[in-house]
Symmetry: C2
Subunit: 366 residues, 2 copies
Amino acid sequence: MVRLAVDCMGGDHGPSVTLPACQAFLAKHPQAELVLVGLPEVLAEAAQWPRCSVVPASEVVTMDDPVEVALRRKKDSSMRVAISQLKAVGDAPPKADACVSAGNTGALMAVSRYLLKTLEGIDRPAIASVMPNQLGAYTTMLDLGANVDCTAEHLLQFAVMGSALVQAVDGKTEPRVGLLNIGEEAIKGSETIKRAGELLRQADAAGQLNFFGNVEGNDIFKGTTDLVVCDGFVGNVALKTAEGLATMIITIIREEFGRNWLTKAAAMLAIPVLKRFKGRVDHRRFNGAALLGLRGLVFKSHGSADAYAFENALNRAYDAARNRLLDRVHDRIIATLQAMPLVAGQQIQGEAAASGNQATGVAHAA
Amino acid sequence: MVRLAVDCMGGDHGPSVTLPACQAFLAKHPQAELVLVGLPEVLAEAAQWPRCSVVPASEVVTMDDPVEVALRRKKDSSMRVAISQLKAVGDAPPKADACVSAGNTGALMAVSRYLLKTLEGIDRPAIASVMPNQLGAYTTMLDLGANVDCTAEHLLQFAVMGSALVQAVDGKTEPRVGLLNIGEEAIKGSETIKRAGELLRQADAAGQLNFFGNVEGNDIFKGTTDLVVCDGFVGNVALKTAEGLATMIITIIREEFGRNWLTKAAAMLAIPVLKRFKGRVDHRRFNGAALLGLRGLVFKSHGSADAYAFENALNRAYDAARNRLLDRVHDRIIATLQAMPLVAGQQIQGEAAASGNQATGVAHAA
């Protein structure tokens, strides 16, 4: 049994989207259970569904709520209560294996971080998602906006966490890791990027991941690597640039086919083709970003997701939980720390001292 | 008369592309003259064309040549000789008003910078180009890869130079400037970006440019602003991400229309529509990036440009030269320095001392 906690109130549309998605998801996953979180009156009917339980929450974090409001004021929000289902309370195990919310990203990350804390060896959680590629598959990318300034060590941690994600969700044993840069040559990029390249080569040599080398923006869509690693500023710009271009192209195609009766007739004939095309680039299929590096699995749906898209976010969370993503990230990070003690020593001395991790008790030569 | 120096040997295809493009360009621009630079035996026929002169160069910078080779070894390269046409020699005025090359970007920037030097008040030259937007117009963006690490002051300089470019080439009197960020709110982004936002607001208040505020990746294609300013790492990733997605989408459309005889029939009927669509997003139409901030106008064509694309790069250089882009950039930078003496003082103290610019002799409080 895999149990998902769902923030039923989050997103632009709230329960009108999340509940039909939950219902469709349950019908397709007989091994799944859902913990629905939200206003009890809204969830009354859903409480009767099989394999469903309801946990009440009296408040809702809106899409515009500042992080502070979500964190300090709305302590009984559906978002916060849903995330807290991932925590063990006393001797009782956590009530859910993963949590899904379409609520606002900043609030979701802040509350998750506050309630769950980061995994040992992780300085900063990151947001990972996928983009379709020319191979008919998809490319996983992180960070997509959680961290605007990253060190080389952070980028290494992202690569390790992302490798665990691709392994768990896509079943690839040794996902190829690309470092997003402005040229293929190792001498390209900023000092941080060059140093990240060195660390990734070391991690590859130590057998901790499969480093391909530098990749460029177009490689995301070529599918050159399974995973593309970058800082959150660059990742967010790339993601939104791609969304913007896709929207423009679809608008132009619609305009050109709608120009006159002749083009409209051509459109009629081309409908099956255009549908297949749209299906292949439909971002709803790729909905569900993972917040990686926390002591709990949190998945973020696009705020404007419809039921189909939200169901896909549930699917991704389900696959991740079923394939023990949390353990995999933890194990990989610990193994990397042990294989690369210098990096560990430099980066997480604070946490190392607190957690007493042996692997980090080594040379702090910076 | 406007005179363009053309590196006829540069790019993936050299004279087989550049010469037909030059010929087509001359036919359309009776007020233009070309200075063709390259191996004399290759240019013998073109030397007979009206309004053409040939300047011989015995070497060629290849697309793979490292910057050092272009800079220190190939001193008689067509690229270098073409750029040097922009320099006054003794009392004689420069032989050309702008230079166009499809040679490799790193070499072109390095040689241009070495031969021409940067304008007063400019720390680093930047690369500016355009992308089509949903309004049927295009958005100018810089920097696209010349500078991987930028300060807030560099971003301000890019905004000032870019404003001059849009004004000169597109005739917009007060181009709207957007700062590329990961959210619209002024509190978003790294410290550098936040400080750049402050400087841009100051420059706007001082009447030096028209600052819209933060924009996101998708705003490039929405056409929210005329100009988008970012550091070269982010700009390069955004540009190549867009190129990669466009390539994938065109590949998918082709695949889907080629699937079987029915879809092929639909494609036949849709040909005019697809042609118009392709025309609207055709990157060849937007070929010709400006290297801004140098004491001379250098334009960079895509290395893989065909004759149509290279001709467009010639067009852009022609428009820029005709509309006195160099003077405009110079005047705008000086005006901004005078209006914002603190920025000037912090940033270009070295150059200020050398050039004796009054505007920069002010408080160096950092």
